[in-house]
């Protein structure tokens, strides 16, 4: 009680000192609360957007040298690198589908193609190869269909993104409608250039989009495999190019020694299948070939909850290790590519700023406290002489720091909350591309996050405790004989 009384009165008495420390703390807390709330809103929004609509919670994929994401390979490796296909896909998919922790499994492959209409070149599109039945089960509501229908299961064709459609109109002055035909030409290191004619089933936009995402159209997986050379196991005689022929020849030679491993019922998933087998398969049913070729780049998972995601990640990593598979599990952030990276970098920059403020505040507060203790040497000496134990002195100094911290910390929380509340009312407009990507739209309405308040208070608590450590040790060294010093 007396300690609180002394603390409060000392703070009131030494206005300058109190204000220096207090304003620092309040400003720090304000930034933490407002900044973290802002960040949390962005990441929470982004997280839900991506997990629910594009990436799932976890993504299983192969390992490659270059950096890649669901959007393909980024950076200098783009030209000649190849995204690895998932080894032993069927076993893996079966394993995951049977897990109680996994609520949904959906394979995906990524690619890109130039678009042509007749002789005319009409731009470029990123492509996701999907199995419609699975894809639209995992993401039932991630797109808005402007015209036409969704890609029906088992059919070939493309669902064109509105952005691609707009780009085509810019390039060629033609407006694409559902039912039109387009030529897609893919180029890859495996099979050179491939051209496929596809029917446009529908035109759509993603509900929540980013500049990266809106350039992605959806195609059936078979077409994607053909365009990107993941189909070396399949043949459509009429469209076989010279390069393809040559390549198939090579593969046949290369695989003679391995032919015993290959059967028509369980072809190997690398796409290297014996030529004999292919011919046999062709004689069967061409549509069946899609099932035989299980070349996928990604396996997207939705888990029943966050804890399950961690558990599944561990299980899978063990499984990959045991079975000597060159696979890994990444989270949605990885799949979201540079958009998420951007938010993440921003968060890192923000945290660095906070750490700098923290250190500056620590030094300033510590110095101010040491000065105030030096000024109070006779007072502290007197307390010791009168029989105050060291613990009493320690309590007195820490209480003062804690009171000031709590007082101005609360002020900071209030200011931060009010600030976020105002922003929530008015909304922050995205003035440029950078913010549009970050906000996942044109306006962001940040919400106050409990996490930001808790972490701000924790940070400021630690700050207060850390800043008073040295001053307290100085105070404890004050001998009672210092009471005799002239001063008070």
């Amino acid at each position: 009680m007396i300690i609180f009384k002394i603390a409060l009165r000392n703070l009131r008495e030494h206005t300058a000192k109190t204000l220096i420390i207090g304003v620092l703390i309040a400003v720090g807390v304000f930034f933490l609360v407002a900044g973290n709330s802002f960040m949390d809103t962005i990441t929470a929004g982004m997280r839900i957007t991506y997990i629910d609509n594009y990436t799932g919670e976890l993504i299983v994929h192969g390992k490659a040298k270059g950096t890649f994401s669901l959007f393909g390979i980024m950076g200098p490796e783009m030209a000649n690198a190849k995204i690895p296909e998932i080894e032993q896909f069927e076993q893996l998919e079966a394993l995951l589908a049977s897990s109680e922790l996994v609520s949904d499994v959906n394979p995906l492959a990524t690619g890109a193609a130039s678009i042509g209409i007749g002789e005319e070149s009409a731009g470029f599109s990123f492509l996701w190869g999907i199995e419609p039945s699975q894809y639209f089960t995992m993401f039932p509501d991630n797109i808005i269909l402007h015209e036409g229908t969704r890609l029906p299961p088992g059919e070939k064709g493309i669902m064109l993104s509105q952005n691609n459609k707009d780009k085509i109109r810019e390039e060629t002055n033609r407006t694409i409608h559902a039912g039109d035909k387009l030529q897609l030409s893919g180029m890859n290191a495996v099979s050179g250039t491939r051209i496929r004619e596809v029917t446009v089933w529908g035109i759509f936009s993603y509900r929540q989009t980013s500049p990266q995402l809106e350039r992605v159209s959806l195609v059936d997986i078979k077409t994607l495999r053909e365009l990107s050379g993941m189909d070396v196991g399949e043949i459509e005689e009429a469209q076989l190019s010279e390069t393809e022929q040559a390549l198939l020849g090579e593969i046949e030679e290369n695989n003679i020694f391995g032919s015993s491993l290959i059967s028509t019922t369980s072809p190997q998933n690398e796409g290297f299948t014996n030529f004999e087998t292919i011919l046999a398969a062709e004689a069967l049913e061409i549509t069946e070939a899609g099932k035989e070729n299980n070349a996928w780049h990604f396996l997207l998972l939705k888990t029943i909850n966050d804890r399950a995601a961690t558990e599944i990640t561990n299980t899978l990593n063990d499984y990959f290790l045991e079975n000597d598979l060159d696979l890994e599990v990444s989270n949605w952030r990885w799949g979201a590519g540079f958009t998420a990276d951007m938010a993440y970098s921003l968060q890192i920059v923000f945290n660095i700023i906070i750490i700098v403020i923290f250190i500056v505040a620590l030094i300033v507060i510590m110095n101010t406290l040491v000065i105030s203790i030096t000024e109070r040497i006779p007072e502290i000496g007197t307390i010791r002489a009168m029989g105050g134990q060291k613990s009493f002195v320690r309590l007195m100094i820490t209480t003062e720091t804690l009171v000031i911290t709590a007082l101005f910390g609360t002020a900071g929380v209030l200011l931060g909350s009010i600030f976020i509340w105002i922003l929530n009312m008015t909304g922050i407009e995205a003035t440029n591309m950078f913010f549009r990507v970050l906000f996942g739209g044109d306006v962001l309405k940040p919400g106050l996050s409990a996490n930001s308040i808790v972490s701000a208070l924790a940070a400021v608590g630690i700050l207060g405790a850390a800043a008073s450590l040295y001053p307290v040790s100085v105070a404890l060294k004050i001998s009672p004989v210092r009471a005799m010093q002239k001063g008070i």
């Binding site: 009680m1 007396i2 009384k5 002394i6 009165r9 000392n10 008495e13 006779p378 007072e379 007197t382 307390i383 010791r384 002489a385 009168m386 029989g387 105050g388 134990q389 060291k390 009493f392 001998s479 009672p480 004989v481 009471a483 005799m484 002239k486 001063g487 008070i488």
Partner: protein, 236 residues
Amino acid sequence: MAIISLHDVTKDYPLGKTVVHALKGVSCEIQRGEFITIAGPSGSGKSTILNMIGCIDTPSSGNVKINGTDTSALSDKSLTQLRHQVLGFIFQSFNLIPVLNVYENIEFPLLIGKNGMHPSEKKTWINTLIREVGLDSWKTHRPSELSGGQRQRVAIARALATRPEIVLADEPTANLDSETGETIINLMKKMNHEFKTTFIFSTHDNMIVEIADHVIRLKDGIITENSRKKKTGVAV
């Protein structure tokens, strides 16, 4: 048994490369209930000897016994406890807590450590002390609103709050004019009389020395006189 006994106490202060011998072997005894002054010129070692008795500093050699207990054997914690229970302090520059008012300053020693006082008993006791030092109408004033003499009255009351056996006062009148100084010493003597508390104060003012009934005179760290007035005790 003497309440305080010093046996061959020395105190050396390192001063740069040399050493100051502030006390050069001091032995004396103080009896319970005495009103003693330690007199001597500046630098003679008055403060040093009071610091030893007050257990806020330790001798370089020799020993100080309080109630028969050798203080050199005690830990910081036990010494602090001893100061709280047995000793009261009055300082030359008053040393009141600036943010506390008169009442709170006097109450303060009771709050910094254990004491068996009941809250209502405590309140009565503090009010008694305030009345005794004549500050009834100043209870809620802060030290900064008081004169030097008034501040030293607060300090006297505070020194008595824990009902100590011994009160030490290092030049309690040095910051006061001589008239006020004399009233303060007389007030201390009144308290000594009423509560049977042993008072030890230092001074270099010979007028004030007269009021004491036991004088220990120091010069250059050595006792040059140790005499009790006939009416209160036997000459040593």
